[in-house]
């Protein structure tokens, strides 16, 4: 039973860029979400079909939820938050499908052929969660500058009115970096630990016993997507609050 913390490289794109197995799954999920979005957009009718009904009610519910937290800036921030939610939810759920980790491909490595898994849950790769965390925090800074202006934003970090405020400003800078780490490790740790747990369960007793663990993994996957988006909008709300 082989578990590796890092995603394994299975090929190269144009001979330069390494392609790992979680990157392959990322492309597939991106294509699925894109096709789903386009199908809903071009299928809009006055009398809605069932898929359009479902999407409309979900949109209304989540828009009101984000509006309850943010208020007037919801229009600009909502697409970001819901995209994070959908991407992470689809990725986590797709990692539980049969075929992840069991379909292998032969890779020539240092002269000998080795069978590596072709698919791997995309959020179980620290590169992807780190990239998502970077996008979240950088867009957080962009939204703060856009909503409260550059002067107030800099005043939050560099503040010479009193020694204590100066120290608090430095702490704020450090806390931005720690937010990146905490975002990425929370998502990575939850999904990767779930994968290890499922591997061990399948290895020990392949019949009936893994069922409650798979249910727990589905719940944890959706919960982590929700928590990621919720933390994203709450951090924006905190960073535009006046003292």
């Amino acid at each position: 039973m082989e578990i590796s913390v890092a995603a394994e490289q299975i090929g190269e794109l144009f001979g330069v860029i390494p392609v790992t197995n979680s990157l392959v799954v990322t492309w597939i999920i991106m294509a699925v979400i894109l096709i789903l979005g386009l199908a809903i957009k071009f299928g809009l009718r006055i009398i809605p079909s069932s898929l359009q009904n479902f999407v409309e009610s979900f949109y209304e519910m989540s828009y009101e939820f984000v509006e309850g937290v943010l208020g007037e800036h919801t229009r600009v921030v909502y697409p970001f938050a819901i995209t994070f939610f959908f991407f992470i939810a689809f990725g986590n759920l797709a990692g539980l499908l049969p075929g992840m980790g069991s379909i292998t491909i032969d890779v020539i490595k240092h002269g000998e052929s080795e069978a590596l898994p072709l698919f791997r849950a995309l959020t179980a790769d620290l590169n992807l969660t780190f990239a998502l965390a970077l996008i979240a925090i950088i867009s957080n800074q962009y939204f703060s500058i856009k909503f409260i202006g550059l002067k107030k934003y800099l005043h939050k970090f560099i503040n010479f009115s009193s020694p204590i405020n100066f120290f608090v400003g430095i702490l704020e800078i450090v806390s931005e970096f720690s937010k990146i780490l905490s975002f990425s490790f929370r998502l990575f740790g939850n999904v990767f630990a779930g994968e290890v747990l499922l591997s061990v369960m399948y290895f020990l007793v392949p019949v009936f016993v893994p069922i409650p663990f798979v249910l727990m993994e589905i719940f944890v996957g959706l919960m982590q997507a929700f928590v990621f988006s919720l933390l994203f909008i709450v951090f924006i709300k905190v960073s535009i609050a006046e003292h």
Binding site: S4, S182, F185, R186, N190, F192, V227, L230
Partner: protein, 71 residues
Amino acid sequence: MEPQAIAGLTIAIGGLGPAIAIGLIASKAMEAIGRNPEATSKIQTNMVLGLAFAEAIAIYSLVMALILKFV
């Protein structure tokens, strides 16, 4: 000490603090819901927020234990 024992101890000790923290957060949230059932959804949202922060610490120590065992 053998490496297996160290990996086990990492997650055992590292999960103690967050477990107590999650218990405290949830119990205070339950108390608040009991006093004021109308504000349930607001309290629930903020409780989930607090739970995510507390659980993240346990996840850090879990990732550490996994790295110690598999790398």
